[in-house]
Amino acid sequence: MAQTLPYQQLTTCYYALTAVVLPVLAFAVNFFLKKGKAAGWISTIAIGATTVFAAIVFKQQWNAPLIHATIPWFTIGGTAVNAGILLNNLSVLLLLLVNVIALPVHIYSMAYMSHDEGFSRYFTYLSFFCFSMLALVVVDNLVLFYAFWELVGFSSYLLIGFWFTRDKAVQANKKAFIMNRIGDVGLLIAIMVLFSQYHTFDLNALFSADGLVANSTLTNGLWINGTSTIPAVWQYLACAGLFLAVAAKSAQFPLHTWLPDAMEGPTSVSALIHAATMVAAGIFLLGRVYPLFSVHELDALAIIGCFTAFMAASIAITQNDLKRILAFSTISQLGFMVMAMGIGAYASSLFHLVTHAFFKCLLFLVAGAVIHEMQHIRDENKLDFDPQNILYMGGLRRKMPITFITAVIAGLALVGLPFTSGYLSKDGILIQAFEWSDTKAGVFKIIPILTLITSWLTAFYVARLVFKVFFGKFRLSEVNPGLKLHVHDGPWKFNVPMIFLAICCLFPVFSLNPFLYEHAWIYKSFLPSNFLERMNPYHTIIPIALNILSLLVIYWAYAVYVLDKKLPLKQNNWLFAFSYYQWYFNEAYQKVFVQPVLAISTGLFAFDRKGIDGLIHFFNRIILWVAKLSAAIDRYVVDGFLHFVVALVRQIGNFARSFQTGRVQYYLLTTVVAIVAWVILKILI
């Protein structure tokens, strides 16, 4: 380390560094070992050790002054770019969170992927992802941040397309990467704006409490930072770029469509990457660059977050694919977090990030266990059906009790009922949304209401999912009587991670008071120092109203799906279709972006061939024509002249030779000619 740090901090740094490096070592080992079952253990042990280190770092660093250690990386022009780690509450929290989620998923994966041909490849990718993700949360400058940001996307690409012979998977990972690339471009532009304004990439220097960003102002359409002043539009652009990055990674409107498709990857991957960690990176980024956003930009964030949350929830209620429901649920919850950032509920947003990571990961693991059993049924009976379709499931609660219980806990946490972690984090966001809207007018009044509706929608789809999967009768048997059913809970590698995560979904992990989010330790650590705990009616009314109505909604779902009461809504109306087809975003993007770009590219290629090359060929033809002309000139004029000269000389020669014939008469003639010529000359002159 370049700077001299106190011993304590130095060891913390080394621990953090070790935590980052271990997965990449596992990756390297797996990469070169190629085949073998050892890969799973190598990766798992690595992540286990990393978890230990991360825990130590967390313990030492939580609520401690930040550590920022750098070494010079390279110098370009006058700018020295450093590589280093920045450990503050945010990064150590994420560092621990990622590990705590990744470790169960690793264990779970060893069982889940045990029969797959690409077992070692899977763990190679997984270790690489862990490395990228862990590095992303600790790096201290924007260049490295961008690098790992994109590497996270890349490992996600690899993992989504893990079964690369499946067309859907490959198209999904392409889509995911390109969507993420849009965000990357946004991030890159934002980085460039920041660099051109502040001439540094250092996150700490830029975004710390009294950093460069905090000290620059937006006035009169100018963005002023000490000596450097540029039009404010660049600040907007930077924020827009950052927002694009967030939207891409955290699947916010308008870049959310990749996440449902990403469910083509192995379910354990979805649990780790597309539910808990990578998608949280967007929120993490918002947390890192929070000081940059001005009030209006935060409002925009709130609107988009809220809209995304509502849209995704509305889609989730009609989906039949188990994983897709969860994917839309993830989008919806991420929308909550973004909205929370937008309304200034910074602490709640990050708190929700943490709690969501646990219960959503758990839900995915549950889904994985269920799908695993469904695949088992499919392979055993040699049927052809979609093992992820919830319409085929039902009544699994008796066969898979552990799975069922953990699923219920996670589901309740997702709905946000009391005694779960979700209650603490989500209700906090809702309360603050109402408080925030008090200070606003117009369209912003809708936001908390929309959030409420979204919460109820959440309750509905969660209930629908749980009831469809675990209650009632096993519907596949109704279609195919005489089905062999060997359905049971998974092995310990399934159960232990699920139970662990289920425990993490309960309130004691976060707050000893199950009703007051203000008492959660994570929440408290992220509060600005000037935070005043304001007790107003919202704090009691909203949770009560919300939860009572949620319970009603759940009962309604129970009535519809378990007791087989008629749904008051018909399934074939346009609203249902609108929801079922995910608001037609995919089709719209295909029509509005993909096809035009392809058409443009085809057109440009035609232009290249016909236009530019045509021009070249036209010139070519002209040149050829000129060449032919000049060849003709050459032959008939230049050569002609030459031939003429030659002939002339020859004639003169012959003529002169004719004087030397030895013929006397010619001599005489010549003499006479000469004389006559001379005389004539004499006369004329």
């Binding site: 003639l669 006479v672 004389i675 006559v676 005389v679 004539i680 006369i683």
Partner: protein
């Protein structure tokens, strides 16, 4: 128009016409004879130029000498030689003769131009002679005067020419002898 002028035109015409015939004819013998006609016509012109002695000499030497000489050659050489000598390309106007014709015509034009532009009768020395009355008149007899001048003023050329004649005679005789040893 005086008789002299008529005679001059006649003589000139005969001389030129026969000369043209010489030029045009392919027959050697005929052209030789036409050549003598030319010589006679010229002799007439000499007379008109008041040089009767020269005219007589012309006839005697040319007609009596050269004519005889040429005919002699023919006759001495025999028939074969004559035929060979008479052998001529048949065509009258060969294209190859055109340059010669043109150049001759050009020369003629040049000479005409020259003579017409220089009035020969107005030359200084001729005017001087007329003035000094140094002009031969038709009534004068110049033979005697020629003889005196030949033996006095022009003695040296006369002698030189006689030696030349002798050499020519000897040379001709040498050349004409039958192949002996050569």
């Amino acid at each position: 128009m005086s008789a002299a002028q008529i005679l001059f035109g006649l003589m000139s015409f005969i001389a030129l016409a026969s000369a043209v015939y010489v030029a045009a004819s392919n027959n050697l013998v005929r052209s030789v004879f036409m050549f003598f006609v030319t010589l006679f016509a010229l002799a007439g012109l000499y007379v008109l130029a008041l040089a009767d002695f020269v005219a007589v000499t012309q006839i005697v030497i040319y007609v009596g000498g050269i004519l005889v000489l040429i005919l002699f050659v023919f006759m001495l050489s025999g028939r074969e030689t004559l035929e060979a000598m008479q052998h001529q390309p048949k065509r009258l106007w060969k294209l190859a003769n055109l340059p010669a014709f043109l150049i001759c015509a050009l020369l003629l034009i040049v000479l005409f131009n020259l003579f017409m532009n220089t009035n020969a009768d107005a030359l200084p020395w001729i005017k001087q002679a007329v003035h000094n009355n140094d002009v031969i008149k038709a009534e004068n007899t110049m033979t005697e005067n020629i003889g005196i001048n030949l033996m006095t003023r022009y003695l040296l050329p006369f002698e030189v020419i006689s030696i030349l004649l002798l050499m020519a005679l000897a040379g001709a005789a040498h050349l004409s002898r039958k192949e002996a040893g050569a």
